[in-house]
């Protein structure tokens, strides 16, 4: 495969004020999004949050109501043909000609790509593990096999950018692991950009370098996964200890202003100030309460996602 990729100084995707309105309903609301090249980027949101509509505008399946889009440095719609020639995309469920075999479906897809695409059919089938079933009719394929064939179709153009809408749908746990490894290899070894929309937070957290959280057509937060986890986090510390109720009473008596709550097997302090944490540890130990572990609380992307989306609900 050709490893000459889109220059990493330009974003792979950039949107400014991108808006899509269906009659009175605002599906995508003035979205400003920058996806850095050479990364795996997740678009996280509930079903109906506007993820697919945003992708459909990027790949020319529907026209935006307002705003600008740039794909691989080409402004859309003027540069769509040139931009999309370097893009592989799966939008919603990948669709195939069910009366044709997997290989024939790729021949059809290659025919609308550049002439070299036909020469890649065997290698992309091999890559997604479908060589043995390539001559079976697609109607006999399982959902997971269709997903893999969809990815093979994306790779026909040796893309700089892959846009994958809910790519884990239909994959079993083994298939999801293979998919994660494939995406990481595409990014780290081949320098491609992978843009994934998903409602599966765990999946995005494991695959992506960065993500944007979208709800009701708006981008609520964007950044690296670590930044998203940390954003809005009340820095806190978890102390695993015996007799959490006694420990809580003791701490509240000694320092009524210390933010502390009881957990099933310990306490959570709403501070990560080392001096205060050490003082708490000392106090507990001197009062005969065994402390097993002291660690900063780890917020998951899910915590942050739920926090942001519930804020939006409250505001509505």
């Amino acid at each position: 495969m050709n490893h000459l990729r889109h220059t990493h100084t330009e974003p792979a995707i950039e949107t400014v004020g991108l808006t899509k309105r269906f009659d009175e309903r605002l599906a995508v609301d003035a979205v400003n999004l920058t996806v850095p090249a050479g990364s795996a980027f997740g678009l996280l949101g509930h079903n109906g949050a506007g993820k697919t509509t945003l992708i459909r505008m990027l790949v020319g399946l529907t026209q935006p109501s307002a705003g600008q889009m740039t794909l691989l440095g080409h402004e859309l719609p003027a540069g769509r043909e040139r931009a999309l020639s370097r893009v592989g995309a799966i939008v919603e469920e990948p669709m195939f000609y069910s009366h044709l075999s997997g290989r024939e479906n790729l021949r059809v897809a290659a025919a609308v790509r550049e002439p070299q695409a036909a020469g890649r059919i065997a290698s992309v089938l091999e890559r997604v593990g479908l060589s043995d079933r390539a001559d079976d009719k697609v109607r006999k394929y399982s959902m997971g096999m269709r997903q893999r064939l969809g990815i093979a179709r994306c790779l026909l153009s040796d893309p700089s950018l892959l846009i994958l809408d809910e790519p884990s749908n239909g994959l079993d746990p083994g298939g999801m692991l293979e998919f994660r490894m494939m995406v990481r290899a595409m990014v780290e070894e081949e320098g491609r950009t992978v843009f994934i929309s998903s409602h599966l937070l765990d999946e995005v957290e494991k695959i992506c370098d960065a993500a944007a959280i979208v709800d009701r057509g708006r981008i609520l937060a964007t950044g690296t996964i670590a930044e998203l986890r940390a954003d809005g986090e009340q820095h806190s510390t978890v102390i695993s200890c015996e007799d959490p109720n006694r420990a809580l009473t003791l701490l509240r008596l000694r320092d009524p202003e210390l933010g502390v709550e009881s957990l099933p097997d310990g306490l959570r302090l709403t501070t990560n100030d080392h001096t205060r944490v050490a003082a708490v540890n000392e106090l507990l130990v001197t009062h005969g309460i065994a402390v097993w572990r002291v660690e900063p609380a780890q917020h998951s992307l899910e915590d942050r996602f739920l926090q942001l989306t519930s804020q939006l609900k409250d505001a509505a």
Partner: protein, 256 residues
């Protein structure tokens, strides 16, 4: 040019692998002719006084009408609608759009592919008709070579035009069943009724069937609407161009 050829080859692959459609198209043309000749052969063999030979000029004219105006056009509609509407109905159109290829090119490549399949089916039927016309003529007069060639050309033209109209209207409607029902109803019922409605006067000349009938060589039976051959050619060309135009327009403007 290579890309266009590849795209047409891909569209041809999609169509010819639609076995049910292909078999129906052959059944409606070749199958109907075989049934017709088998019946007339048996009838002639059992009662030669009342039933003439299966071949000859008269039956050749009937067979040409069947292919150029009746069953042959139904087969052409099936093929054209499949080419024009299937990708919208099956949801595969979006997979082609996301490649960035122009929608106009995606639409345009369907027409030659549909025409190739249609003309293959019609060509087989014409060959069978020609063979049967001479083989089973008995003592009846047979068409001249020139008339045979004109007849073959007319059948292929008629089927090709109807096929292009079906591709265009299939793409416009985006639904196989709706396009099939409308076009077959138009071609086999509504067109005939309009052509026989004398109150419509000259407006009847705009009916595709009327123009195609005007160009039919040899014995044509009752020509419902008289018009010049030039006008017939213009009407046929307009039908093809307008249908292809609306199909291309809808392909470019619809959400995929």
């Amino acid at each position: 040019m290579t890309r266009l050829r590849n795209m047409v080859a891909a569209d041809l692959l999609k169509l010819r692998k639609k076995r049910t459609m292909t078999w129906w198209a052959f059944l409606l043309t070749v199958g109907v002719l075989i049934a017709f000749y088998a019946y007339t052969l048996i009838a002639h063999a059992t009662d030669p006084l009342h039933h003439g030979p299966a071949g000859g000029l008269e039956h050749w004219g009937n067979a040409m009408s069947t292919l150029g105006l009746d069953f042959g056009t139904v087969a052409a509609i099936m093929i054209g609608v499949e080419a024009g509407a299937a990708e919208f109905a099956d949801g595969t159109f979006k997979e082609l759009v996301v490649t960035g290829r122009s929608r106009l090119a995606l639409f345009a490549s369907r027409i030659p592919a549909a025409l190739i399949v249609t003309l293959c089916v019609a060509g087989c039927a014409v060959l069978i008709t020609t063979a049967a016309t001479f083989a089973f003529a008995g003592g009846d007069p047979t068409p001249s070579l020139s008339l045979v060639l004109q007849g073959a050309g007319w059948v292929l033209l008629s089927n090709a035009v109807v096929c292009v109209v079906a591709v265009g209207l299939g793409a416009l409607m985006g639904s196989r069943s709706a396009a099939l029902i409308s076009l077959i109803a138009w071609q086999t019922i509504a067109s005939r009724l309009l052509m026989q409605t004398s109150a419509l006067g000259g407006a009847r000349k705009s009916v595709l069937d009327a123009a195609l009938t005007q160009l039919k060589p040899g014995p044509v039976g009752s020509r419902a609407v008289a018009m010049s051959s030039l006008l017939a050619v213009i009407v046929i060309a307009l039908w093809a161009l307008i249908a292809a135009g609306v199909g291309a327009w809808r392909t470019q403007t619809r959400d995929a």
